[in-house]
């Protein structure tokens, strides 16, 4: 990966790049998609480094991001997380888990025509804040919520 490309990724994340190419109507190979995977961001060991690697060092707390997540998760191995952004011009939505060994869990690019609303299920190593990071019109917005992880019984 050359330096220019790295800078593009660092500045905009794969989200911006993909949106750009999508609007340009370019279909890319799987190899190119895989190369988009932001090693620095996904490899970051803590929240700050992950935000930095996504170019999201500066973020605004926003009430226009809704997170659906349990207060207390039945099992940290499968925690449902939903994120909805009401911020106009939402380009991407990322899920970060503060206390996981690597903080960035997922990043979704939202092309025009797709709702800024995604759900998935994540692993939580322990009780942790879960952050939703939204990129809209080149700016970053954030909300967070604590999800508790408990010790269970025999497994139903």
């Amino acid at each position: 990966m050359d330096q220019t490309r790295r800078n593009v990724l660092k500045a905009g994340g794969s989200a911006g790049l993909l949106a750009l190419l999508a609007t340009a109507g370019m279909l890319r190979s799987e190899a190119a998609l895989a190369a988009d995977w932001n090693q620095n961001a996904f490899g970051a060991k803590n929240l700050k480094d992950a935000f930095d690697a996504l170019g999201a060092a500066n973020r605004t707390q926003s009430a226009d991001i809704a997170m659906v997540a349990p207060e207390i998760a039945e099992n940290g191995a499968v925690v449902p997380i939903g994120a909805v952004s009401k911020i106009p011009g939402t380009e991407s939505i990322a899920i970060l888990i503060a206390k996981n060994p690597t903080a960035l869990a997922a990043s979704f690019d939202i092309p025009a025509g797709t709702d800024p609303s995604v759900s998935t299920r994540v692993k939580l190593a322990q009780t942790s804040d879960v952050h939703i990071l939204v990129k809209a019109n080149g700016k970053f917005y954030e909300t967070k919520k604590e999800v508790k992880v408990t010790i269970g019984g025999c497994g139903g």
Binding site: E30, A34, A77, A106, I110, P111, S119, R121, V122
Partner: protein
């Protein structure tokens, strides 16, 4: 070879809601086997959904996505009977594409 995905795509009120389940270990690389040897990371890194050749969702994933991953999203423009393709690619280069009809 990886098992097929389960894709449900339902058109409702001008929108298509897509729910996908993928069969994948999503091994974090942080675990050890019973002999104490680290189990190498093996996880889906990229998922994309296309409708009529247009990417309607593209995601990059890390190791924190739960085993046998679930993904839900919705988009506008498609109608019943249209087809949607989902493709995942993992860190070992394995990939799988499945198709579903919107209903």
């Amino acid at each position: 070879m990886a098992d097929p995905m389960r894709i449900r795509a339902m058109a409702k009120d001008g929108e298509v809601v897509v729910k996908v389940l993928m069969a994948h270990e999503m091994e974090t690389g942080q675990r050890k086997d019973s002999a104490g040897k680290p189990i190498p990371a093996h996880f889906i890194q990229h998922v994309s959904a296309t409708w009529q050749g247009k990417v309607v969702l593209s995601a990059n994933w890390g190791t924190a996505i739960a085993k046998n991953p679930f993904l839900e999203f919705s988009f506008k423009g498609a109608k019943k009977g249209d087809k949607i393709q989902i493709t995942w690619t993992d860190n070992k280069g394995d990939k799988r594409t499945d198709e579903a009809t919107i209903n």
